[in-house]
Amino acid sequence: MTRNAEAALLIAAAVLAALGVAMVNFASGIGFDAQVALTFLVFVLSFGGVHLALRRWAPTANPYLFPIAAFLAAIGFIEVYRLDRDLAALQRWSLLVAAALAAFILFLLRDEGVAALRRYRYIFLLLAIGLLLLPLLPESWPLYGAEVFGSRLWVRVDLPFGDRTLSFQPGEVAKLLLTVFLASYLADRHLALATPRKIGRLSVPEPRQLFPVLVAAGASFLVLIYQRDLGASLLLFALFIGMMYVATARSAYLISGATLVAAGGVVAYQMFDHVQRRVFAWLHPFEDFTDTGYQIAQSLFALGSGSLTGSGLGLGRPDLIPAAATDFVFAAVGEEMGFAGSVAVITAYALLVAAGFGIALRARDVFRKFLAAGLTLVIGIQAFLIIAGVTRLLPVTGITLPFMSYGGSSLLANMVLISLLARISHGERT
C-alpha cells in the first residue's frame, strides 16, 4: 500500500519538474516545447525505475526517501534549466545514470542487504583514500587531476572520440566509502570507545580513545592543504565526529571535535590565503564587492529580492550569481521561489534527515544503525554547510547541495546513498 503512495508521490514530483520547466518557458516567451515532456519523461523513467527496483528487491523499504529526493531533484533541476539549458540536458542524463546505479545497488544487496558491506571495510578505506588522492595526478597522464576555482578535486579523462572530456569528483564517492568504513569500524569498537575513565567525579576519555579523533582531524587537514577544499575537509571531520557521537553517546567527542575545528580553523586562517579570502568575504561582503565579496553579495541580493514568494520562475536574475547552478543553487531558488520556496527546500532536507535517523533508530544491528546515521549525517551536513554559506551564516565552504546542484558525481553519490538507506530500512521491525 505504501509503495503505491510512493509511486503517486514520485509522479507528483515529475509533474512539479515539468510544470516548473513549462513556467520557465512561458516566462521567457517560448511556451510549451519538447523540454517539458522530456523532463517529465526523464523523471518518470529514472524514479519509476528505482521504484520498480524497490518493489522487487526491497519491498518493505521506507517509501518516503525517494519521493523527497525526487522533489529536491525537481526543484534543483528547474533552476538549473532556467540558468543553462545545456547543463540541464546533461543533468537529465546524470539523473538517468544515477537512478540506474541506485537500482543496481538495490539488486546487488538484494539477499544479504548492507550487512555484506561490513566485511570489506579495509578495501573501502583504501578505495576512499585512493579516490581522495586521485585529483593529485599530474596533468600529463591520461587520467589527470584538474584545478577548478582554486580547488583540486576534479579528475578528467580525455575520451578517445571527439574532443569530449569526462570529468568527475572522486571525493563524492569517497565520502560514501568512508561512511561504510566508519560504520563497520565503530560497530566493532563502539563499546571500547564508550567506556570512560573516572578521575574523581569527572569522567575523562582515555587518550587512546581520542586517538582516532586526532587521526580524522589530521586527514581532514591534509584534504584542506592538498586539495584546498574547505567544504570536503569540514564534511569529513563533522561526519567522523558525528558518527563517534552516535556510536558512543558521549559528548566528549563533540566537545573535542568542536575544539579541534576551532583550533584548525585558526591555523588554517593563518596558513592559507584562500581561507582568509573566504572569511573576509563572509564578514565584509560589500567591502570588496567587485572581487572577493561578489559571489556572496549577489547571493544576498538574490535572496533579498526574492522576498516572500519570489520573482516567479524565469523572471529573476539568478544568472548574476557566480556558480548559481552548482553551489549557489539555493540562492537561485530563494530569488525565484522566494522565502516560501527556500523554506520548502529546507523542510524537505529536514524530513529526509528525520526519516534517515528514524531508520537508524529502528535498524536491526549496530552496523546498520551506524551506517544509516552516517549516511543521514552526510546529507544533513552537506545541506547545512552550503545553505549556511549561501545565506552568510558561515563562510562559504564550496560543497554541492545534495540532489539540487548541477553535477553528475554529486547526484550519483547521493542517489546511491539514498538507495543504501532504503535498503537498511527494508526488513526493519516497525
Binding site: L9, M23, T309, A340, L351, G358, L361, R364
Partner: protein
Amino acid sequence: MPALFLNLLKLIFIVLIYLFLWQIGRSIGAHIGPAASSRPTKRVNELVVVRSDTLSGLRFPVGAGITIGRSSDADVVVDDPYASEYHFRIAVHNGSAVLSDLGSTNGTYVNGRRLTVPINLGKGDSVQIGNTIFEVR
C-alpha cells in the same frame, strides 16, 4: 494581464510544493515517531503451540532462554520430521527476546519470512519450523 497570470502561476506552484511536502510530512510521522527500539516492548512470556501434530495448545514459558528442537535435550521437544535436533533458541537479554536459528536444515520462519539473522521477538509474532507453528505471547 500576463503579469497577473504569471503571479498566479507562481503562487499555484508554491502551493503545489507545500501540498507535496504536506503529504510526505503527514505520513512520515508514523515512520519517524517513537521508534520500535525505544517503544516499551511488552515482555515476552511464553511460546504457545498453534499448530502441531502432537503438541497443539501446549504453552512453554520462555524464562531466561529456551531451546527448541527434535533432540530430547532441547527444552521444547518437537516431534516434527522437518525440525533439526537443535532448531532455534530464544535468549532473553534486558527484557528483549532474541530468536536465533541454530543452523537448522529447513530454517525458521518468523511471520512467514525465513530468518537469516537473529531477530528481536515481540508479542504476537509467529514462529514456524516444519509443520509446527508457535505464537509468541
